[in-house]
């Protein structure tokens, strides 16, 4: 590549003089001059994500109080080992057999976890909130070197679309669970409790988040060069695009709703709360 006068600043990067303190740039010592509360957003993001990590780790490893007929916690669905609670017509499938000793939630949580970890929004959230790369716009990051998503392991973020496919399956199973929530505790159909409502809200948010995914937007139509030749996909792309513009909001809303749905099942299963029957 052509070397320009700009490249000359690279020599002093190693001696604490990198980034905004590069010799050729305006001599200002402060790493940033922002006067607003720029730290608030990354701090709130980090706190929110941490709260969810703590809660979900506890619940995923608890291996208890995840089923109270007819409700199954979204963390344990589908339940794929022999040590799962028996759920009639529920999402049990003894795929892993008896050797699986620890909580069966771990098997299935890999998929939603991978989906959210590689999600374009969550990436922004944790790169900023946890990794300070950057902490906020025009605030110098503390790292000396930066290669972004060009190498292992972060280059793996590129497999996001495979997690998206898996997420569709998981959302399908959670939809099935929501349908099953229209039974009562004796597996009779045609009933509804407060839990059913919690499940309904959760599944709508899960679907909205999943469909608003950037990979989904690409797959349904974004990859095309000529929308005019694919009118149906164009319409789908526009529709997904509308949801996609709210992807961050949906990411948080569905994160909260899935935790709440699980917590609701926990309260009912542990006997701390009785599911009020609506009909």
């Amino acid at each position: 590549m052509m070397r320009t006068s700009l490249d000359q600043g690279t020599s002093d990067v190693s001696d604490q003089q990198g980034g905004v303190r590069t010799r050729t740039r305006a001599a200002i010592d402060a790493p940033h001059l922002r006067t607003d509360r720029w730290w608030l957003a990354p701090a709130a993001t980090a706190a929110g994500l941490l709260a969810f990590i703590v809660y979900s780790t506890w619940r995923a490893f608890a291996n208890a109080d995840y089923y109270a007929a007819p409700y199954v916690s979204p963390f344990y669905s589908p339940c794929l080992a022999e040590n799962c609670d028996a759920m009639r017509a529920g999402p049990n499938w003894d795929l892993f057999g008896g050797w699986w000793g620890i909580s069966p939630a771990i098997i299935i949580l890999i998929f939603p976890l991978g989906f959210r970890l590689t999600c374009y929004y969550y990436r922004k959230a944790y790169y900023r909130g946890f990794w300070a790369s950057p902490p906020a716009c025009a605030v110098a990051e503390p790292h000396k070197k930066y290669t972004g998503e060009t190498r292992f392991p972060l280059v793996l973020q590129n497999i996001h679309r495979y997690f998206f496919y898996a997420a569709i399956v998981v959302a399908g199973i959670l939809t099935y669970d929501t349908v099953l929530a229209f039974r009562d505790e004796h597996y009779e159909w045609g009933h509804m409790g407060l839990g059913t409502l919690v499940f309904l809200v959760n599944i709508v948010l899960i679907w909205a988040y999943t469909i608003s995914c950037h990979s989904c937007r690409h797959i349904v139509g974004g990859k095309l060069k000529h929308f005019s030749r694919h009118p149906v996909r164009y319409r789908m792309w526009q529709w997904v695009g509308k949801l996609n513009a709210r992807h961050m909001l949906l990411a948080w809303a569905s994160l909260v709703s899935v935790a709440l749905a699980d917590f609701y099942v926990y309260l009912v299963a542990s006997g701390a709360f009785d599911d009020p029957r609506l009909f």
């Binding site: 320009t4 006068s5 905004v20 305006a26 922002r34 070197k145 679309r161």
Partner: protein, 256 residues
């Protein structure tokens, strides 16, 4: 609110060194930061260097940093600050300084030249180009760009890492790659140039970690990350990390 006296700190100096200089300066209703800089120039520091042209947010010349945030001097109203606030104005901090508020933005021109131009379709003469509106909507958003380079200045990939300037084109020029790759008549692929692939291999798309600062500062409100960079990343995945799509394209070989 009518006239008051504001506290300003303006960076003055050149590549040899410099610092923030204090000014007390009159502010009137309806003014923007560029007016105040001009008043400082007219009344207190006649040799203060500042680049500007249209004073209407359209030429992209007056980019600077105000209270640490990359912004256009002519589009930042004084009414967003309280009269008590000290307002700090510095040149762009990602580029070499020339003098006072003027920086050398040549990096961006170098990067612009590195993006291969529109490849004309073979069988069409000039004047025969026909495109459907829905096929150009996406590129038209990107064409709103006024080349103020605020996004290039904010992007931490180069702002915080001078050494990445060789490998990384920056948001504005990755957006240009996206624009051409979405262009209904661009014949790059037919000519053997795969923009999806080169976005990653030659323009450093992988450096972007989609933290959206470019989008945050763009005075034209272009959704750079959502509409250009992420779609471009997905297109690169089609080429490089998705065996299914890759196989499909080998078998079917038709343009979509």
């Amino acid at each position: 609110m009518s006239g008051y006296t504001a506290q300003f700190k303006v960076w003055r100096g050149d590549v040899q060194g410099g610092g923030l200089e204090d000014f007390k300066v009159e502010v009137n209703e309806g003014e923007v930061v560029l007016d105040i800089i001009h008043r400082i120039q007219a009344t207190q520091a006649p040799d203060l260097a500042v680049r500007w042209n249209c004073k209407a947010g359209k030429c992209g010349s007056c980019s600077a940093e105000i209270n640490g945030r990359p912004r256009l001097l002519c589009m930042t109203r004084m009414s967003v600050f309280t009269p008590e606030e000290t307002i700090t104005v510095t040149p762009l901090r990602a580029f070499p300084v020339v003098r006072d508020l003027v920086t050398d933005v040549g990096f961006n021109y170098t990067k612009a030249r590195e993006v291969p131009a529109f490849v004309p379709p073979e069988k069409l003469a000039a004047g025969e180009y026909r495109m459907m509106q829905e096929d150009v909507d996406r590129s038209q958003e990107f064409r709103k760009c006024i080349e103020c380079f605020l996004c290039q200045d904010t992007c931490h990939v180069v702002r915080d890492h001078e050494e990445n300037k060789t490998a990384f084109a920056g948001p504005r020029f990755l957006m240009r790659v996206a624009e051409l790759d979405m262009h209904p008549l661009d014949a790059a692929a037919e000519a053997g140039l795969d923009r999806k692939q080169t976005a990653q291999d030659e323009h450093g798309l992988g450096y972007c970690n989609i933290t959206k600062c470019c989008t945050e500062v763009c005075p034209e409100g272009i959704k750079i990350t959502d509409n250009a960079l992420i779609p471009l990343k997905e297109r690169a995945v089609d080429r490089k990390y998705d065996p299914l799509v890759w196989l499909g394209s080998k078998i079917r070989r038709r343009s979509s």
